[in-house]
Amino acid sequence: MATSAGISRPTADKVRELVMTALGQTKLAGMSSVLQFIAESFDADGCILWEETPGSRLKADPPVGEFFAVAQWFRRMPFWTTYKLDLGCVTGQAVLAGKTASVEDAKIDPRVDFSLPFFKRTGIRSFCAIPIPCPDDRKGSLDLYRLPPGGFAPDELDIARRMADLVPGLFQAIRDRVSFGVLRELDLHLQEAEQRIAAEAGDAAVNEALQRACVLVGDAFRSLETSLVLEDRLRTPNRYDVVATTFSQHVSKKSYVAGEPGLTPWVLEHQRPVDVFDLACFEQDRPILDARYPDITWSDRDHVLDIMAKRFDLPIDDLPPVSFICVPVTVGERLLGALRCCAALRAPHYYAERDVELLKLLATRIGQFWDSSQRQREIAEKIASLRSITEGVSRLNRLAQTEFQGQHPNLRGVDVEAVGVLRSAVIAADIAAVVNMSAAGGPAEATLPPGEPLAPGDMAAVLTAAEALRAGNNPQAGAVAVAVPASCERIRHMIAAPLPADGAVDGVLVAASAGEREFTPLALAVAGLVAEQISLYHDLARTLDGRREAERERREAALRQVRTYQNLAHQLRSPVLAALRKVSEELKTNLPPLVRDQLASIRGSLSWASTMVWSTQMFAQLTECGEVLANLRPVTRMDLLALVQTAARDEQERLDPDRGIDVMVSSAGFVVLEQRTVWMDLELIEHAVSNLLDNAGKYSVPRSKVEVYAGVSKNDRFHVTFRNKGLRILPQDVPNCVKRGWRGEQAKLVTGSGSGVGLWLVDHVMKAHNGELLVLPTTPDGWTEVKLLFRF
């Protein structure tokens, strides 16, 4: 029975089984199972899939090249390493002729060199070679081997050819499946890692994910070594460190720089893959490789071959192909690093050109992960930096505030704190200093964190940077990158920000990095901010100094003024009092009415002058020490009454007779003083009374009375009350009446003289008596009352 395609049913079943076997494979090494199925279908003892090496030129005349074992299966031998099958052998000739070749007995067949190690080791006596097409327009052969002689029957060969025709496609299917599998597995792994890292960002998690990715790639490529080198652009820019490897004990070189000798640096420099089929069988392919990879150096090769020879325990010449591929890891146009695989330990023992594409895809996915984690770390660093600067400036402000509250602010301490803030907020700032410069261009002085002196070379670099910025004389420049002097060995990068003062550069804030990492724009902004803060503090300190000096001068001037007032008042006091006493004595004598009137008028004026002298003295005393000092003594009714009556008479004398105001004193209430004791300083009270009478007189309406009376208040105080009808005191004005310098609007219009200190002085006089000046708002019927309240 045959199928519609003319194939016998048993053959069709075999072919279906072959396909099913192939589709069940998940690794490239599964190709051995496919070959096993084919071999066992013909009761063969072995099967090898051969393919021309990449350097072969079978179409040339004469053709040159070799074949290598893509995959193999042997019933008794676990592994056969030889792959260098030359064109002169039966298989080579079959491939070149495009016809199946069959050898019944290798021992006697003249086409076969039976002395080859292959026959000795395997015991093979018969075999057939079936040419097949391979990917990339290459040629190959599926060879079936049997131990006994006898060869393969024609129908066997016919079925074998049908199966062999399927082998390249099946191999490609397995390869695609493996490729998809590893891509998917890597993607899932990195997705999980990204989620984990997003939740708790940390370098350890990133490194762990990369190592796992490396292992996944290594498994897919069956490689002895799979390594990943990446640039940490935030910490070590332009340096490519081995961040993950499956062969750590033999990867002695831990970091690379693009362009240095070696295969990996070549990839980094050119951002192109390097793909070497066999580092062992090297010399014959070298011209092709040198042309493909100009200026490449093969310094890694010997090291790899040594390792492989030890690993397989074989001479180098007997090793399977030692393949090497390395691809750049990029995101867009940006190079991040390189991913390399070296030496396939399991079949197929080589990397095909198609594997380069797979490795590039894997590298791209790893690149996305690395770029994402770098960005995430960058964001985390920015957030940390911003948080640090926010907290730092807040701390700085509190410190500055504390310092400025003192008499002598320690600006150096503030500078030291500012330097610390800068170092906390800018990760790369290994060194930070505030360089204060004298305006006269004298030597600069650096403020550093305590206990962290700078090496002479570093200090020189910092001062040079500061001088350069001062020479630029652009106080508003903000933070800028500055050149590091060639003589400085340690510092790699520097930024500096001017500290402006009065339009010039008063100092410079410098940050320096000893590492590879350059300062970011954020670092410049942070440095600019800290510099502005420092300038602000310095400016504030200068302003405060100026104000304190001005305040000191003002106080001295005020004190001199007080002394002058006191001195002038003192000088006035004696003649005024002498004149007053004299006039008072004269008035006690018999005088003609006209003279008496004149003297009374003069006495009134002198009395007022005496009160003004006293007011001046009190004003000076209150300005200087804030209180009136009283010399208290028990007062008699007669003394106080006489004092009030005399003051009233004097006030009457001063009043304009045309206004018709009468000053009247009611003596009845003063009798209380005969039963109870009140302590007073009569000299102070005399002037207090004069002040209150003067106010009452000035602000009374024409043809009214100013009344003075005394008594005991409801709260058991002795009071002397002055009441009149005139300008009204509104309730809201009551508190203002005793304020220094306050005068009512209407009061200013009806009397120009007066400075608004009269009630203020009286208030202090009463406080010196432990008493009270009580100003009451004008009653509805027009009475205004002011009371002097004394405790008994």
Binding site: S601, G604, L655, D656, R659, Q746, G752
Partner: protein
């Protein structure tokens, strides 16, 4: 002959009036505040004064019997308030075309230096400064010269 006196201090006003009465035949017209002077100035019933004697520091007004106070002009404080009231009064006098030639005597306790700015600004005006420290004869002589009476009937003994 008409003499106006603008003086707020009752004692001083009394003395000055006594001096003027002793030397000149007419009774001077006394005004005690700036507001009263301006009111008199607006009055059409009074004859043109021959001389006006101003104190410089004057209150704006007096309290009326009903307790009210006439409001001051809005620019009162800005124009010097109490401290330049006499100067403002003199300027108000001269602002009236009929009175532009009336001589004014600034009779004050302020010194020449205190008034330097005002006196400079009033250059060209018929203004005369006399300190209150001076003896009454000087006031009489000055007023006499201004009113065309070269030999006023002054007797120093009559003053004060």
């Amino acid at each position: 002959m008409a003499i106006w006196l603008v003086e707020d201090d009752p004692t001083q006003a009394k003395d000055i009036l006594a001096v003027l009465k002793s030397a000149f035949p007419t009774l001077p017209l006394l005004m005690k505040t700036e507001q009263e002077f301006l009111a008199v100035l607006k009055s059409t019933v009074l004859a043109r004064p021959d001389v006006v004697i101003f104190d410089v520091m004057l209150p704006w007004t007096e309290i009326a019997e009903d307790g009210t106070v006439v409001r001051a002009p809005e620019d009162y404080e800005e124009s010097g308030g109490f401290f330049r009231a006499g100067i403002r009064c003199a300027e108000a006098l001269w602002a009236n075309p009929a009175f532009s030639e009336v001589p004014a005597v600034l009779f004050t306790v302020l010194t020449n230096g205190d008034l330097a700015k005002d006196l400079k600004r009033l250059e060209g005006r018929p203004v005369h400064y006399l300190s209150k420290k001076e003896l009454p004869e000087k006031l009489i002589a000055l007023v006499g010269s201004l009113v065309g009476d070269e030999n006023p009937g002054l007797s120093a003994g009559n003053v004060r």
